[in-house]
Subunit: 116 residues, 4 copies
């Protein structure tokens, strides 16, 4: 995954950079909140495994799936808002062609969220 | 949970059966496949936590959120199909008012999936 | 469109059948209600055209798009409920392989609704 | 944020414009394309009415509902992209508090699209 490659970059970049703003991507400050949300979703998915394991009634499992999906969408919206506020707005201020690329990229991400 | 009460119902309804399958709810046979799917989704959610922790680019995180949401919807559809094939079809065969209740319940579950 | 080809089929099939219940498909009795709903959605789409034509603010147009999409989904759920109650339940009562085909078909239709 | 520093770029650009485009809202130039799309969707909704009227099989109607919903979502995405490219980007360039309001507004519109 792409994500994995950034691991090393982030790990080595953090100490070497002059501590201005090492890695931002918009969602930096909300990191703790995001991790808390994701741990809660992980708990919901483990709850689903327990439900299947204990032969809980299908409809009750489906209700829990809907709740987990909603929590994931909520997390995505939060991330998207921060992305628009920081990355997209920054590109607009910088001017040039980057704003087009950023808007195109954001729209495609929204399309993927809508189509799931 | 409500689900637990249905267990007894199933157990007492089954006397003609050789008591081999005490609780079915349709998805019984696919249990292993369901658990495997859910464990994979749990892995995806943990992957999301790693991505946030390592300040991966927002759009890449959103792509992973879309994949997890799609996997959850896929699991829901599988469950729903088994529910229709077993619980709803059984209610139809039994006749009486139960089919109306089952269809109503299934439709509401589908509405919840659509609205998330 | 597929729909159009079915028109002729429906038109020619009707007289040949023993006029007991010429065409049912579950949603027969709710036909007037369905047509009313659809005419309201058609009005919403024409409203969208007016909004675009009068350069209404994008966000207000998007709000109206969401309302129309919700109305379409609501119509789909109503139709689906009737389909489950009649066609799927009938297939279950008849027994045989038809129930599998019907459940498979219904699940695919639900998947299409979820993926839009 | 960073956006504030480049505010001047926007400030100098603003007075130079000869006020030729009274109402833009981003989607101005694509107006004809939008109207064409919407008329096509209107045709699909009228097709649905014909299908219901002619007692077409429920599943075929549901397929057409999915197609219409997808067309509406597609229109919304197009509108949203133009909104981000123009209104949101403009607010970012202007600086001040407007960008927060615009991003908040856009995120809520996306949430409404996701929840339908």
């Amino acid at each position: 995954m792409d994500a994995m490659t950034t691991t090393e970059a982030g790990a080595t970049a953090a100490p070497s950079e002059p501590a201005l703003e090492p890695v931002t991507h918009g969602y930096h400050k909300q990191k703790d909140e995001h991790l808390k949300r994701l741990r809660r979703i992980e708990g919901q998915i483990r709850g689903l495994q327990r439900m299947v394991d204990e032969d809980v009634y299908c409809i009750d499992i489906l209700t829990q799936v809907s709740a987990s999906t909603k929590a994931l969408q909520s997390f995505a919206l939060q991330l998207l808002e921060e992305h628009l506020r920081h990355c997209v707005a920054d590109a607009a201020v910088k001017g040039g062609e980057e704003i087009d690329a950023k808007v195109d990229e954001a729209t495609k991400a929204i399309a993927r969220l809508l189509r799931t």
